[in-house]
Amino acid sequence: MSLSSTAILPASGETPAGNSLRWQTLARKGQGLIVPVILLIIWESVVRLGWVSAHLLPPPSELVFTLADLGQSGAIFGHIGVSSLRVVIGFSIGAGLALIVGAAVGLSRCVEALLDPTFQAIRAIPSLAWVPLLLLWLGIDESPKITLIAIGAFFPVYLNFVAGIQNVDRKLVEVGGIYGLTGAKLITRIFLPASLPNLFTGLRSGLSLAWMFLVAAELIAATKGLGYLLTDGRETGRADLVIVAIIVLALLGKLSDSLLCWLERRLLAWRDVFDSRPS
Protein backbone atom coordinates (compact mmCIF):
# COMPACT_ATOMS: atom_id res chain seq x y z
CA MET A 1 0.00 0.00 0.00
CA SER A 2 1.49 3.31 -0.98
CA LEU A 3 1.59 6.25 1.33
CA SER A 4 -0.52 8.45 -0.88
CA SER A 5 -3.41 6.04 -1.01
CA THR A 6 -3.51 5.68 2.77
CA ALA A 7 -3.46 9.43 3.04
CA ILE A 8 -6.34 9.72 0.62
CA LEU A 9 -8.42 6.96 2.17
CA PRO A 10 -9.46 8.66 5.38
CA ALA A 11 -10.06 11.97 3.65
CA SER A 12 -12.23 10.46 0.97
CA GLY A 13 -13.87 8.10 3.36
CA GLU A 14 -14.66 10.61 6.06
CA THR A 15 -16.64 13.16 4.13
CA PRO A 16 -19.42 10.88 2.90
CA ALA A 17 -19.56 9.10 6.24
CA GLY A 18 -19.75 12.42 8.11
CA ASN A 19 -22.33 13.70 5.68
CA SER A 20 -24.51 10.65 5.95
CA LEU A 21 -24.27 10.84 9.74
CA ARG A 22 -25.35 14.46 9.67
CA TRP A 23 -28.22 13.58 7.39
CA GLN A 24 -29.23 10.78 9.69
CA THR A 25 -29.45 13.03 12.74
CA LEU A 26 -31.29 15.66 10.71
CA ALA A 27 -33.67 13.03 9.40
CA ARG A 28 -34.25 11.68 12.88
CA LYS A 29 -35.02 15.15 14.20
CA GLY A 30 -37.18 15.90 11.17
CA GLN A 31 -39.23 12.75 11.50
CA GLY A 32 -41.52 14.32 14.06
CA LEU A 33 -42.34 17.15 11.64
CA ILE A 34 -43.61 14.94 8.81
CA VAL A 35 -47.10 14.29 10.18
CA PRO A 36 -47.85 17.90 11.30
CA VAL A 37 -46.67 19.31 7.95
CA ILE A 38 -48.86 16.88 5.99
CA LEU A 39 -51.82 17.71 8.23
CA LEU A 40 -51.24 21.46 7.71
CA ILE A 41 -51.15 20.98 3.94
CA ILE A 42 -54.36 18.91 4.00
CA TRP A 43 -56.00 21.49 6.30
CA GLU A 44 -55.07 24.42 4.04
CA SER A 45 -56.16 22.64 0.85
CA VAL A 46 -59.44 21.39 2.29
CA VAL A 47 -60.42 24.96 3.17
CA ARG A 48 -59.08 26.45 -0.06
CA LEU A 49 -61.00 23.89 -2.08
CA GLY A 50 -64.15 25.00 -0.29
CA TRP A 51 -64.88 21.58 1.23
CA VAL A 52 -65.00 23.10 4.71
CA SER A 53 -66.19 26.59 5.57
CA ALA A 54 -63.32 28.98 6.32
CA HIS A 55 -65.59 30.54 8.92
CA LEU A 56 -65.58 27.35 11.01
CA LEU A 57 -62.08 26.15 10.23
CA PRO A 58 -59.80 29.06 9.27
CA PRO A 59 -56.84 27.84 7.19
CA PRO A 60 -53.34 28.01 8.69
CA SER A 61 -52.42 30.97 6.48
CA GLU A 62 -55.23 33.02 7.98
CA LEU A 63 -54.18 32.04 11.49
CA VAL A 64 -50.76 33.50 10.78
CA PHE A 65 -52.41 36.84 9.90
CA THR A 66 -54.57 36.72 13.01
CA LEU A 67 -51.52 36.07 15.15
CA ALA A 68 -49.61 38.86 13.41
CA ASP A 69 -52.52 41.26 14.01
CA LEU A 70 -52.70 40.34 17.67
CA GLY A 71 -48.95 40.70 17.89
CA GLN A 72 -48.92 44.11 16.22
CA SER A 73 -51.55 45.55 18.50
CA GLY A 74 -49.70 43.98 21.42
CA ALA A 75 -52.95 42.43 22.63
CA ILE A 76 -51.62 38.88 22.55
CA PHE A 77 -48.69 39.78 24.80
CA GLY A 78 -51.08 41.26 27.33
CA HIS A 79 -53.10 38.07 27.35
CA ILE A 80 -49.99 35.90 27.61
CA GLY A 81 -48.57 38.05 30.39
CA VAL A 82 -51.75 37.98 32.46
CA SER A 83 -52.23 34.23 32.05
CA SER A 84 -48.58 33.39 32.73
CA LEU A 85 -48.57 35.53 35.84
CA ARG A 86 -51.69 33.77 37.12
CA VAL A 87 -50.10 30.38 36.50
CA VAL A 88 -46.81 31.38 38.13
CA ILE A 89 -48.49 32.75 41.25
CA GLY A 90 -51.08 29.98 41.53
CA PHE A 91 -48.53 27.25 40.86
CA SER A 92 -46.05 28.70 43.35
CA ILE A 93 -48.68 28.88 46.09
CA GLY A 94 -50.03 25.39 45.36
CA ALA A 95 -46.64 23.71 44.99
CA GLY A 96 -45.24 25.58 48.00
CA LEU A 97 -48.10 24.46 50.24
CA ALA A 98 -47.76 20.93 48.86
CA LEU A 99 -44.09 20.93 49.82
CA ILE A 100 -44.82 21.93 53.40
CA VAL A 101 -47.84 19.67 53.90
CA GLY A 102 -46.20 16.83 51.95
CA ALA A 103 -43.09 16.98 54.12
CA ALA A 104 -45.19 16.85 57.29
CA VAL A 105 -47.37 14.00 56.02
CA GLY A 106 -44.43 12.07 54.58
CA LEU A 107 -42.28 12.34 57.69
CA SER A 108 -44.84 11.81 60.41
CA ARG A 109 -47.17 8.82 60.63
CA CYS A 110 -49.31 10.82 63.01
CA VAL A 111 -49.79 13.76 60.64
CA GLU A 112 -50.39 11.32 57.81
CA ALA A 113 -53.17 9.55 59.68
CA LEU A 114 -54.64 12.92 60.52
CA LEU A 115 -54.48 14.70 57.15
CA ASP A 116 -54.08 12.23 54.33
CA PRO A 117 -57.65 10.85 54.25
CA THR A 118 -59.01 14.40 54.04
CA PHE A 119 -56.70 15.32 51.17
CA GLN A 120 -57.56 12.13 49.33
CA ALA A 121 -61.23 13.03 49.62
CA ILE A 122 -60.72 16.63 48.47
CA ARG A 123 -58.65 15.37 45.57
CA ALA A 124 -61.65 13.45 44.27
CA ILE A 125 -63.58 16.69 43.67
CA PRO A 126 -63.59 17.55 39.94
CA SER A 127 -61.82 20.84 39.32
CA LEU A 128 -64.75 22.67 37.79
CA ALA A 129 -66.92 21.91 40.81
CA TRP A 130 -64.80 24.39 42.73
CA VAL A 131 -65.52 27.27 40.38
CA PRO A 132 -69.00 28.34 41.57
CA LEU A 133 -67.95 28.04 45.20
CA LEU A 134 -64.79 30.06 44.66
CA LEU A 135 -66.75 32.73 42.77
CA LEU A 136 -69.24 32.92 45.64
CA TRP A 137 -66.54 33.16 48.25
CA LEU A 138 -63.92 35.25 46.55
CA GLY A 139 -65.74 37.30 43.95
CA ILE A 140 -64.70 37.50 40.31
CA ASP A 141 -61.31 39.18 40.47
CA GLU A 142 -57.89 37.51 40.64
CA SER A 143 -58.19 35.57 43.89
CA PRO A 144 -60.63 32.84 42.76
CA LYS A 145 -58.55 32.16 39.63
CA ILE A 146 -55.31 31.91 41.54
CA THR A 147 -56.93 29.76 44.21
CA LEU A 148 -58.26 27.38 41.57
CA ILE A 149 -54.85 27.10 39.92
CA ALA A 150 -53.22 26.54 43.30
CA ILE A 151 -55.68 23.73 44.06
CA GLY A 152 -54.86 22.17 40.69
CA ALA A 153 -51.11 22.36 41.25
CA PHE A 154 -51.29 21.21 44.86
CA PHE A 155 -52.38 17.62 44.51
CA PRO A 156 -49.89 16.14 42.04
CA VAL A 157 -47.01 17.80 43.91
CA TYR A 158 -48.38 16.68 47.28
CA LEU A 159 -48.99 13.07 46.23
CA ASN A 160 -45.64 12.59 44.52
CA PHE A 161 -43.68 14.30 47.26
CA VAL A 162 -45.27 12.19 49.98
CA ALA A 163 -44.58 9.04 47.96
CA GLY A 164 -41.02 10.22 47.40
CA ILE A 165 -40.37 10.81 51.08
CA GLN A 166 -41.89 7.53 52.12
CA ASN A 167 -39.69 5.71 49.62
CA VAL A 168 -36.41 7.21 50.84
CA ASP A 169 -33.95 4.43 51.57
CA ARG A 170 -33.82 3.77 55.32
CA LYS A 171 -30.12 3.09 54.97
CA LEU A 172 -29.43 6.61 53.73
CA VAL A 173 -31.49 8.07 56.56
CA GLU A 174 -29.30 6.06 58.91
CA VAL A 175 -26.21 7.65 57.38
CA GLY A 176 -27.73 11.01 58.24
CA GLY A 177 -28.34 9.73 61.76
CA ILE A 178 -24.72 8.64 62.16
CA TYR A 179 -23.69 12.18 61.28
CA GLY A 180 -26.05 13.54 63.89
CA LEU A 181 -28.58 15.05 61.50
CA THR A 182 -32.02 15.61 62.97
CA GLY A 183 -35.09 17.68 62.23
CA ALA A 184 -34.79 20.30 59.53
CA LYS A 185 -31.21 19.34 58.70
CA LEU A 186 -32.17 15.71 58.15
CA ILE A 187 -34.98 16.87 55.87
CA THR A 188 -32.89 19.24 53.76
CA ARG A 189 -29.80 17.05 53.52
CA ILE A 190 -31.33 13.58 53.16
CA PHE A 191 -35.09 13.52 52.58
CA LEU A 192 -35.35 16.41 50.16
CA PRO A 193 -32.57 15.39 47.76
CA ALA A 194 -33.57 11.73 47.97
CA SER A 195 -37.16 12.50 47.05
CA LEU A 196 -36.24 15.07 44.40
CA PRO A 197 -36.92 12.69 41.46
CA ASN A 198 -40.48 12.12 42.68
CA LEU A 199 -40.88 15.80 43.48
CA PHE A 200 -40.02 16.75 39.91
CA THR A 201 -42.55 14.28 38.52
CA GLY A 202 -45.09 15.98 40.78
CA LEU A 203 -44.02 19.50 39.82
CA ARG A 204 -44.31 18.73 36.12
CA SER A 205 -47.77 17.24 36.32
CA GLY A 206 -48.75 20.02 38.75
CA LEU A 207 -47.66 22.63 36.23
CA SER A 208 -49.63 21.06 33.40
CA LEU A 209 -52.68 20.94 35.67
CA ALA A 210 -52.08 24.59 36.57
CA TRP A 211 -52.44 25.54 32.89
CA MET A 212 -55.57 23.43 32.65
CA PHE A 213 -57.14 25.08 35.66
CA LEU A 214 -56.13 28.48 34.34
CA VAL A 215 -58.25 27.97 31.26
CA ALA A 216 -61.13 26.73 33.40
CA ALA A 217 -60.88 29.85 35.56
CA GLU A 218 -60.53 32.29 32.67
CA LEU A 219 -63.29 30.74 30.59
CA ILE A 220 -65.82 31.57 33.26
CA ALA A 221 -64.91 35.00 34.53
CA ALA A 222 -62.12 37.04 33.01
CA THR A 223 -61.57 40.18 30.98
CA LYS A 224 -58.02 39.37 30.03
CA GLY A 225 -55.96 36.26 29.46
CA LEU A 226 -55.86 33.40 26.99
CA GLY A 227 -58.99 31.81 28.43
CA TYR A 228 -60.78 35.10 27.86
CA LEU A 229 -59.49 35.09 24.27
CA LEU A 230 -61.14 31.67 23.84
CA THR A 231 -64.48 32.95 25.17
CA ASP A 232 -64.17 36.13 23.14
CA GLY A 233 -63.53 34.13 19.98
CA ARG A 234 -66.55 31.94 20.59
CA GLU A 235 -68.87 34.88 21.38
CA THR A 236 -67.79 36.90 18.35
CA GLY A 237 -67.83 33.84 16.12
CA ARG A 238 -64.11 34.05 15.33
CA ALA A 239 -62.75 30.52 15.17
CA ASP A 240 -59.32 31.91 14.24
CA LEU A 241 -59.04 33.62 17.64
CA VAL A 242 -59.98 30.40 19.40
CA ILE A 243 -57.43 28.36 17.48
CA VAL A 244 -54.69 30.95 17.98
CA ALA A 245 -55.40 30.95 21.74
CA ILE A 246 -55.24 27.14 21.78
CA ILE A 247 -51.91 27.16 19.94
CA VAL A 248 -50.44 29.78 22.27
CA LEU A 249 -51.62 27.79 25.30
CA ALA A 250 -50.00 24.67 23.90
CA LEU A 251 -46.74 26.53 23.28
CA LEU A 252 -46.71 28.08 26.75
CA GLY A 253 -47.47 24.73 28.37
CA LYS A 254 -44.69 23.06 26.43
CA LEU A 255 -42.27 25.90 27.12
CA SER A 256 -42.85 25.88 30.88
CA ASP A 257 -42.59 22.09 30.98
CA SER A 258 -39.32 22.20 29.04
CA LEU A 259 -38.02 24.67 31.58
CA LEU A 260 -38.81 22.29 34.44
CA CYS A 261 -37.45 19.40 32.39
CA TRP A 262 -34.17 21.26 31.90
CA LEU A 263 -33.98 22.02 35.59
CA GLU A 264 -34.75 18.38 36.39
CA ARG A 265 -31.97 17.15 34.15
CA ARG A 266 -29.52 19.57 35.75
CA LEU A 267 -30.47 18.81 39.33
CA LEU A 268 -30.89 15.07 38.89
CA ALA A 269 -27.73 14.35 36.90
CA TRP A 270 -26.69 12.06 39.73
CA ARG A 271 -29.52 9.61 39.11
CA ASP A 272 -28.42 6.16 38.03
CA VAL A 273 -31.21 5.49 35.59
CA PHE A 274 -31.77 4.08 32.15
CA ASP A 275 -31.33 6.84 29.61
CA SER A 276 -32.92 6.11 26.26
CA ARG A 277 -31.59 9.25 24.66
CA PRO A 278 -28.84 8.43 22.13
CA SER A 279 -25.53 9.58 23.54
Partner: protein, 272 residues
Protein backbone atom coordinates in the same frame (compact mmCIF):
# COMPACT_ATOMS: atom_id res chain seq x y z
CA UNK B 1 -2.68 2.85 79.23
CA UNK B 2 -4.88 4.16 82.00
CA UNK B 3 -8.28 3.73 80.44
CA UNK B 4 -9.26 1.66 77.42
CA UNK B 5 -10.59 3.48 74.38
CA UNK B 6 -13.71 1.37 74.47
CA UNK B 7 -15.09 -0.32 77.54
CA UNK B 8 -18.17 -2.33 76.84
CA UNK B 9 -20.29 -4.24 79.31
CA UNK B 10 -23.75 -4.95 78.00
CA UNK B 11 -25.68 -6.97 80.54
CA UNK B 12 -28.74 -7.48 78.40
CA UNK B 13 -30.45 -6.16 75.34
CA UNK B 14 -33.91 -7.30 74.41
CA UNK B 15 -35.56 -7.03 71.08
CA UNK B 16 -39.29 -7.47 71.56
CA UNK B 17 -39.43 -10.79 73.43
CA UNK B 18 -36.03 -12.02 72.32
CA UNK B 19 -33.03 -11.89 74.53
CA UNK B 20 -30.52 -10.66 71.98
CA UNK B 21 -27.43 -10.07 74.09
CA UNK B 22 -26.46 -11.66 77.36
CA UNK B 23 -23.54 -10.33 79.35
CA UNK B 24 -21.09 -9.27 76.71
CA UNK B 25 -18.01 -7.60 78.08
CA UNK B 26 -14.79 -6.54 76.43
CA UNK B 27 -12.58 -3.54 76.06
CA UNK B 28 -10.31 -2.22 73.36
CA UNK B 29 -7.12 -0.24 73.81
CA UNK B 30 -6.04 2.60 71.61
CA UNK B 31 -4.55 1.40 68.35
CA UNK B 32 -5.88 -2.16 68.44
CA UNK B 33 -7.68 -3.95 65.67
CA UNK B 34 -10.43 -6.13 67.06
CA UNK B 35 -12.88 -8.32 65.19
CA UNK B 36 -16.26 -9.58 66.34
CA UNK B 37 -16.99 -12.92 64.74
CA UNK B 38 -20.10 -14.97 65.20
CA UNK B 39 -23.05 -16.64 63.54
CA UNK B 40 -25.78 -14.36 62.27
CA UNK B 41 -28.18 -13.32 64.99
CA UNK B 42 -25.55 -13.31 67.72
CA UNK B 43 -26.00 -9.58 68.21
CA UNK B 44 -22.65 -8.40 66.91
CA UNK B 45 -24.16 -5.76 64.65
CA UNK B 46 -26.41 -4.72 67.51
CA UNK B 47 -23.30 -4.15 69.62
CA UNK B 48 -21.81 -1.96 66.92
CA UNK B 49 -24.99 0.05 66.75
CA UNK B 50 -24.95 0.52 70.50
CA UNK B 51 -21.38 1.77 70.39
CA UNK B 52 -22.28 4.10 67.52
CA UNK B 53 -25.11 5.53 69.59
CA UNK B 54 -27.80 4.18 67.26
CA UNK B 55 -29.48 2.17 69.99
CA UNK B 56 -29.75 3.09 73.65
CA UNK B 57 -32.30 0.68 75.10
CA UNK B 58 -29.92 -1.80 76.69
CA UNK B 59 -28.83 -2.64 80.19
CA UNK B 60 -25.22 -2.16 80.97
CA UNK B 61 -22.49 0.33 80.46
CA UNK B 62 -20.63 1.37 77.35
CA UNK B 63 -17.92 3.97 77.43
CA UNK B 64 -15.96 5.40 74.55
CA UNK B 65 -13.06 7.42 75.92
CA UNK B 66 -14.92 7.35 79.20
CA UNK B 67 -18.06 8.82 77.69
CA UNK B 68 -21.46 7.34 77.00
CA UNK B 69 -21.87 6.72 73.26
CA UNK B 70 -23.99 9.26 71.43
CA UNK B 71 -24.75 10.05 67.82
CA UNK B 72 -22.39 12.31 65.96
CA UNK B 73 -19.61 11.54 68.38
CA UNK B 74 -16.26 12.96 67.35
CA UNK B 75 -14.66 9.77 68.61
CA UNK B 76 -16.57 7.21 66.62
CA UNK B 77 -16.79 6.62 62.88
CA UNK B 78 -18.97 4.05 61.17
CA UNK B 79 -18.58 2.13 57.93
CA UNK B 80 -21.53 0.10 56.74
CA UNK B 81 -21.76 -3.17 54.92
CA UNK B 82 -22.66 -1.30 51.74
CA UNK B 83 -20.94 1.96 50.79
CA UNK B 84 -24.13 3.97 51.43
CA UNK B 85 -22.81 6.96 49.56
CA UNK B 86 -25.45 9.58 49.03
CA UNK B 87 -26.13 9.34 45.29
CA UNK B 88 -26.87 13.06 44.86
CA UNK B 89 -23.49 14.16 46.19
CA UNK B 90 -20.17 13.86 44.42
CA UNK B 91 -17.55 11.56 45.87
CA UNK B 92 -15.75 14.52 47.47
CA UNK B 93 -18.99 15.89 48.94
CA UNK B 94 -19.76 12.44 50.34
CA UNK B 95 -16.39 12.22 52.03
CA UNK B 96 -16.79 15.69 53.53
CA UNK B 97 -20.47 15.13 54.34
CA UNK B 98 -19.89 15.87 58.01
CA UNK B 99 -19.05 19.50 57.31
CA UNK B 100 -22.22 20.23 55.40
CA UNK B 101 -22.66 21.49 51.87
CA UNK B 102 -19.18 22.86 51.36
CA UNK B 103 -17.56 19.82 52.97
CA UNK B 104 -16.24 18.56 49.65
CA UNK B 105 -13.79 21.45 49.45
CA UNK B 106 -12.02 20.70 52.71
CA UNK B 107 -8.33 19.90 52.11
CA UNK B 108 -8.57 16.68 54.10
CA UNK B 109 -11.09 15.34 51.58
CA UNK B 110 -8.49 15.50 48.87
CA UNK B 111 -5.85 13.92 51.11
CA UNK B 112 -8.12 11.01 51.99
CA UNK B 113 -9.24 10.49 48.41
CA UNK B 114 -5.60 10.35 47.36
CA UNK B 115 -4.93 7.79 50.06
CA UNK B 116 -7.72 5.52 48.88
CA UNK B 117 -6.73 6.09 45.26
CA UNK B 118 -9.80 8.05 44.21
CA UNK B 119 -8.28 11.50 43.69
CA UNK B 120 -9.40 11.46 40.05
CA UNK B 121 -12.97 10.70 41.02
CA UNK B 122 -13.51 13.57 43.46
CA UNK B 123 -16.14 15.15 41.24
CA UNK B 124 -17.74 11.94 40.02
CA UNK B 125 -21.14 10.79 41.22
CA UNK B 126 -21.35 7.49 43.11
CA UNK B 127 -23.14 5.90 40.14
CA UNK B 128 -19.88 6.13 38.21
CA UNK B 129 -17.95 4.06 40.77
CA UNK B 130 -17.51 0.30 40.92
CA UNK B 131 -18.42 -1.54 44.11
CA UNK B 132 -14.85 -1.57 45.39
CA UNK B 133 -14.31 2.10 44.57
CA UNK B 134 -17.53 3.04 46.32
CA UNK B 135 -16.43 1.16 49.44
CA UNK B 136 -13.08 2.95 49.31
CA UNK B 137 -14.95 6.25 49.20
CA UNK B 138 -16.96 5.05 52.19
CA UNK B 139 -13.74 4.31 54.08
CA UNK B 140 -12.51 7.81 53.30
CA UNK B 141 -15.81 9.21 54.59
CA UNK B 142 -15.55 7.13 57.76
CA UNK B 143 -12.06 8.51 58.41
CA UNK B 144 -12.87 12.12 57.54
CA UNK B 145 -14.02 13.03 61.03
CA UNK B 146 -10.72 11.58 62.33
CA UNK B 147 -12.44 9.23 64.77
CA UNK B 148 -10.39 7.47 67.42
CA UNK B 149 -12.55 4.40 67.00
CA UNK B 150 -13.77 3.23 63.62
CA UNK B 151 -16.63 0.73 63.61
CA UNK B 152 -17.06 -1.47 60.56
CA UNK B 153 -20.09 -3.65 59.95
CA UNK B 154 -19.05 -6.41 57.53
CA UNK B 155 -17.42 -3.79 55.35
CA UNK B 156 -16.10 -6.06 52.63
CA UNK B 157 -18.77 -8.72 52.41
CA UNK B 158 -20.32 -7.26 49.29
CA UNK B 159 -17.21 -7.15 47.10
CA UNK B 160 -15.38 -9.86 45.21
CA UNK B 161 -12.47 -11.79 46.74
CA UNK B 162 -9.67 -9.86 45.01
CA UNK B 163 -11.17 -6.47 45.78
CA UNK B 164 -11.69 -7.63 49.36
CA UNK B 165 -8.01 -8.46 49.81
CA UNK B 166 -6.96 -5.10 48.38
CA UNK B 167 -9.46 -3.25 50.54
CA UNK B 168 -8.28 -5.09 53.65
CA UNK B 169 -4.70 -4.02 53.04
CA UNK B 170 -5.81 -0.49 52.26
CA UNK B 171 -7.83 -0.32 55.46
CA UNK B 172 -4.88 -1.51 57.55
CA UNK B 173 -2.43 0.89 56.00
CA UNK B 174 -4.70 3.92 56.24
CA UNK B 175 -5.93 3.30 59.74
CA UNK B 176 -2.46 2.66 61.08
CA UNK B 177 -1.35 5.83 59.34
CA UNK B 178 -4.12 7.74 61.13
CA UNK B 179 -3.63 5.73 64.32
CA UNK B 180 -7.27 4.68 64.29
CA UNK B 181 -8.60 1.87 66.45
CA UNK B 182 -10.77 -0.61 64.58
CA UNK B 183 -13.69 -2.68 65.75
CA UNK B 184 -14.98 -4.80 62.91
CA UNK B 185 -17.89 -7.19 62.63
CA UNK B 186 -17.30 -9.91 60.09
CA UNK B 187 -18.47 -13.35 59.02
CA UNK B 188 -15.18 -14.12 57.41
CA UNK B 189 -12.89 -16.07 59.73
CA UNK B 190 -9.83 -15.58 57.53
CA UNK B 191 -10.48 -11.88 57.28
CA UNK B 192 -10.71 -11.53 61.04
CA UNK B 193 -7.48 -13.50 61.55
CA UNK B 194 -5.61 -11.55 58.91
CA UNK B 195 -6.66 -8.10 60.06
CA UNK B 196 -6.97 -8.30 63.82
CA UNK B 197 -4.88 -8.19 66.94
CA UNK B 198 -7.73 -9.88 68.79
CA UNK B 199 -10.74 -11.79 67.62
CA UNK B 200 -13.77 -11.90 69.90
CA UNK B 201 -15.87 -14.93 69.02
CA UNK B 202 -19.56 -14.82 69.81
CA UNK B 203 -22.28 -17.43 70.02
CA UNK B 204 -25.94 -16.83 69.38
CA UNK B 205 -29.25 -17.22 71.19
CA UNK B 206 -28.63 -15.30 73.27
CA UNK B 207 -25.62 -13.43 71.94
CA UNK B 208 -22.67 -13.97 74.24
CA UNK B 209 -18.90 -14.22 74.04
CA UNK B 210 -17.70 -17.78 73.60
CA UNK B 211 -14.03 -16.92 73.61
CA UNK B 212 -11.29 -14.68 72.42
CA UNK B 213 -8.31 -15.43 70.21
CA UNK B 214 -5.18 -13.35 70.37
CA UNK B 215 -3.62 -13.39 66.92
CA UNK B 216 -0.26 -12.07 68.06
CA UNK B 217 1.44 -12.05 64.69
CA UNK B 218 3.46 -9.11 63.43
CA UNK B 219 2.39 -7.10 60.42
CA UNK B 220 2.54 -7.11 57.52
CA UNK B 221 1.19 -10.60 57.53
CA UNK B 222 1.33 -13.18 54.83
CA UNK B 223 -2.08 -14.64 54.09
CA UNK B 224 -0.43 -18.02 53.54
CA UNK B 225 1.37 -17.94 56.89
CA UNK B 226 0.78 -21.25 58.69
CA UNK B 227 0.41 -19.60 62.09
CA UNK B 228 -2.24 -17.34 60.63
CA UNK B 229 -4.01 -20.36 59.21
CA UNK B 230 -3.78 -21.97 62.63
CA UNK B 231 -5.38 -18.91 64.23
CA UNK B 232 -8.18 -19.04 61.70
CA UNK B 233 -8.70 -22.69 62.54
CA UNK B 234 -8.82 -21.78 66.24
CA UNK B 235 -11.47 -19.19 65.56
CA UNK B 236 -13.42 -21.74 63.59
CA UNK B 237 -13.15 -24.23 66.43
CA UNK B 238 -14.44 -21.70 68.84
CA UNK B 239 -17.28 -20.82 66.52
CA UNK B 240 -18.19 -24.47 66.28
CA UNK B 241 -18.36 -24.75 70.04
CA UNK B 242 -15.07 -26.65 70.29
CA UNK B 243 -12.52 -25.95 72.96
CA UNK B 244 -10.25 -22.97 72.44
CA UNK B 245 -7.24 -25.26 72.61
CA UNK B 246 -4.81 -22.88 70.98
CA UNK B 247 -4.93 -19.95 73.33
CA UNK B 248 -1.40 -20.91 74.14
CA UNK B 249 0.97 -18.20 72.92
CA UNK B 250 4.23 -20.07 73.39
CA UNK B 251 4.30 -20.80 69.67
CA UNK B 252 4.92 -17.20 68.79
CA UNK B 253 7.12 -15.36 71.22
CA UNK B 254 7.12 -12.16 69.18
CA UNK B 255 3.91 -10.38 70.09
CA UNK B 256 2.20 -7.82 67.98
CA UNK B 257 3.37 -5.07 70.29
CA UNK B 258 4.90 -2.25 68.35
CA UNK B 259 3.37 -3.30 65.09
CA UNK B 260 0.78 -0.61 65.20
CA UNK B 261 3.25 2.09 64.36
CA UNK B 262 2.41 3.78 61.13
CA UNK B 263 2.42 0.89 58.74
CA UNK B 264 4.45 2.73 56.15
CA UNK B 265 7.34 2.44 58.53
CA UNK B 266 6.67 -0.94 60.06
CA UNK B 267 6.19 -2.52 56.65
CA UNK B 268 9.83 -2.08 55.85
CA UNK B 269 11.66 -2.61 59.09
CA UNK B 270 9.54 -5.14 60.79
CA UNK B 271 12.48 -7.53 60.87
CA UNK B 272 13.89 -5.88 63.99
Amino acid sequence: MSQPLLALAVKAKDFQTHHVIDNVEFSIDQGQVVSLVGPSGCGKSTLLRIIAGLGSDYQGEVRVKGERPHLHSRDVGFIFQEPRLLPWLTVAENVGFDLGRAGGKHPRVHELLTEVGLADFANAYPKQLSGGMAQRAAIARGLFTQPALLLLDEPFSAVDAFTRMRLQDLLLSITSHHDTTLLMVTHDVNESAYLSDRVVVMASRPGRISGEIEIGLPRPRDRRNLQLTQRAADILNLLNGGQPDSLDFSENPEQSVGCREPLFISRFNFAH
